[in-house]
Every structure is written in C-alpha cells, then in structure tokens.
Symmetry: none
Subunit: 203 residues, 2 copies
DNA sequence: AGACAAATTTTCCAATCGGAAAATATTTAA
DNA sequence: TTAAATATTTTCCGATTGGAAAATTTGTCT
C-alpha cells in the first residue's frame, strides 16, 4: 500500500486548520456554507478529512473565510518554523543541471522557507541557445561571486555585471543569465517566493 | 450569480502556473509524473484547467515541483513594483560600521524590497564584546564568502562555518556573528523583511 | 425530565476526478 | 522527406467528490 496514511494525515491537519479558522470567527457550518456557496455536508466532511477538496472548492472556501489561500498551507507545525535553522555545508548542496547552467539548491530539504538561495555556475562560451525567458513570482537577488555575467531582462537592455556586482529585480520580468567572460561564472541567487512567509502566530 | 467562469478562469491560471514551473525545470510530463506520483494525464489535464485537482494531488504536485503549496495560489510579485530592478556596483554599497563589524547595505535606496541583502566584514579576533543577541522578524540567510565564521544562535550551540558554508534561520531567534579565523571574514547576509510582503486580496 | 431549536453528521447518488492505455502531435534522426 | 522516438492529449471507466435531504447529536429553555 502506498503511504496512504501520509495523505490522510495531511488532509486531517488541513481540516483542523479550516475548523479552527471557522471557529475563530464563531461561524457555524451553515454560516460558512452561505458565505462560500459550498454545501454544509461538504464542509463538514472536509473538516474531518473525509474528503479532499478540489482546487475550485478550496478557492471558494478561502474566499468565504476571508483568508488568502496560503493560510491553508502555511502551517505552524512542520517545516521551517519559529526557532528553526538549517546549515548547508559547501559539499552537500543538491545539484541540478540543465543545458545552460548548473545550480545547486541550498537547503532543498527545508520546507517553508521564504527565501530560496542557490549557487549557480554559468558555463562559459554558451552562446545564447536559450529558449526563453524565465519568469516566476516574487523577487530575486543575484550577486556575482566570480567571473562576468550578463543579465538579460525582458524589454530592457542587457546588464553586464562583474565580480562583486549585484542586481535585484522583480522575478516576474522575464530574465536570463549568461556567462560573459572566458571562464565559467559563479553566482549566488536568492529568490523570494511569495509563499510561506512566516505567518504571525497567535500567542 | 454563481460565477462559474470565475472558477474556470482561476483554474486555467493555476494550470499555467504549474506548467511554467515545470517548464522552468525543463521537465516533461513524464518527469513530473515520476516525481509526483501523479498520472501523466492528470497533470496534463490540470495544466489546461480541465480538471480541478484535489488537496491530496496538490500536495503531491507541490512536493514534486519542490515548491511550497502556497506558491500555487499567491499571484505574482506584489510589493516591489512589477518590472523594476536595481543594480549595485561593487563600489557603491553604502557602508555602515560598528565596533564589531562593517557591513554594506546593497540597494539601500530601493524601497519595498522583500529581501535585504548585505555584505559584511567581520573583523578578526574581536573577542566577544558583544552586547546582546540581535533579534528581528523574518528569516535570514548567511553564506561565508571568505574566512571562518562562528554563528551564535540563542539557546543553541555555536555553529562554525567555513568558506562556502551557509546557514538559514528564523531571525526571531537571537543571533550573532563573529569571525573565527586569523583574518577578517567576509559574509553575505540576506534578510527577509516581513513587511512589504503581505498584500490584500482584490476581489 | 421533557420538548424544541440549532448544529453537525450520514446517507444516497449524480457529477467529477484520476489513472492506464490508446491516439495524436511533436521532435529528432537518418 | 520518412521513420523512430519522445511528448502530449483523449478516451474510457473505476474511484472519489460534493450536494440535498434525512438522521443524529448537541445545546437551551421551561
């Protein structure tokens, strides 16, 4: 059997979170039903982890509860919580390789971080075989540790950075990095993924 | 009105977000299928907004894509103006000096950033004259560019980091850095400032 | 204690999801 | 160009969700 229990556990935790949110507002199932447009029975079952709501219903539920959907998932229990820390030694970064670059995700096994730091190596001489700009939510910070790098931002002129230079930009703009010198370039990138930003606790 | 089209629209946007995440990693449906345990057809349909995934599948998908679930829901870059960027040249960091260390704030004139990158120099052999732990909200990332650094986290044992090592922690725990070698140490710190991140919903 | 009202859970079934495999579509090779 | 390989979409159908209403539980009076 698969790790059914794992999924079930998640569902139950999710349900309890919903129930707590409803409780905080002092609403009954009927109240919430009216606000969300979901059937009472559906909410009841969801709160007890009997069913797994679909994306659509999750959206309605969030709207009715007047919370952002991420409130359902940023969970004060596991992952990167208050008072936690993680160390990444030079060696044990998790390596990921694509045609154009190699990057190592730091702390890839730590969840719920609000920042995603990565070390990257941009191969020299790779002329722009790049398919397309990269685009994602959040903000991004890049500093050149070694070599020369050209940063392409969609609709802007290319920016040349030398060792020690840095750039900060909205990750929503199409972006692309390439080594610009004779050698490989070494960069450090930190993405801020709008998710999982430490939620204030209630105590 | 039971805005059906609204739900459909949301689903489609969701699907496109998934597809982009997959694209960024250069994965095929088959790749992602293996990483998530979901059927290829399921992912295909989800990406096109044909079906609304359940909570369970969303969890598997997030795990496979190595993102936090809330990444699926939070829309693109808020706060920091969309389409903006800023460059900091090696020279023109704004220097700030204290007894124990020197640090240079990058992009100090750029508002609304959700991350605060700083370069720091920790003077050698400054024995711990430190007053007190530093504490603030958010999360913090530190990487040692040069030298040896000891990171003190309140209530924990001190952590020794060498060049290339990194640490990620909740800024709420009292923290403190010091050089640990014979020479000055050079570090890069990125703080995630909880403000300017949360954004209201618009509907 | 009762009766009544309100909140929650169960039941039943239509609608929808999700997986395996077949059918297309797209890319790569020759 | 055709053939082979790879990637994606469709089809089919069993499994699960989600809603309406009935059944049950939990309160709240008197």
């Amino acid at each position: 059997m698969k790790q059914d229990s794992d999924l079930a556990t998640q569902r139950i935790e999710f349900g309890q979170r919903i129930k707590r949110l409803r409780g905080e507002k002092g609403w009954t199932l009927t109240d919430l039903s009216e606000r969300t447009g979901l059937a009472i029975s559906t909410i009841s079952k969801a709160e007890r982890g009997i069913i797994a709501l679909t994306y659509d219903r999750l959206g309605q539920l969030a709207h009715g509860l007047e919370v952002d959907m991420s409130a359902f998932f940023t969970d004060a229990g596991k992952g990167f919580a208050r008072g936690s820390f993680a160390i990444a030694r030079k060696g044990d970064f998790q390596r990921q390789e694509t045609d154009n670059y190699v990057y190592e995700m730091l702390f890839s096994d730590t969840w719920n971080k609000s920042m995603l730091p990565m070390m990257g190596t941009l191969k020299a001489r790779e002329l722009y075989q790049f398919e397309d700009f990269v685009r994602h939510s959040g903000q991004e910070f890049l500093i050149v540790l070694d070599g020369k790098v050209t940063v392409h931002l969609e609709g802007r002129e290319a920016v040349n950075l030398e060792q020690g230079d840095a750039i900060y930009f909205d990750s929503g703009m199409g972006h692309l990095y390439a080594s610009n010198g004779d050698n490989d370039a070494r960069i450090l990138v930190v993405c801020q993924s709008a998710d999982a930003v430490a939620a204030p606790r209630n105590d």
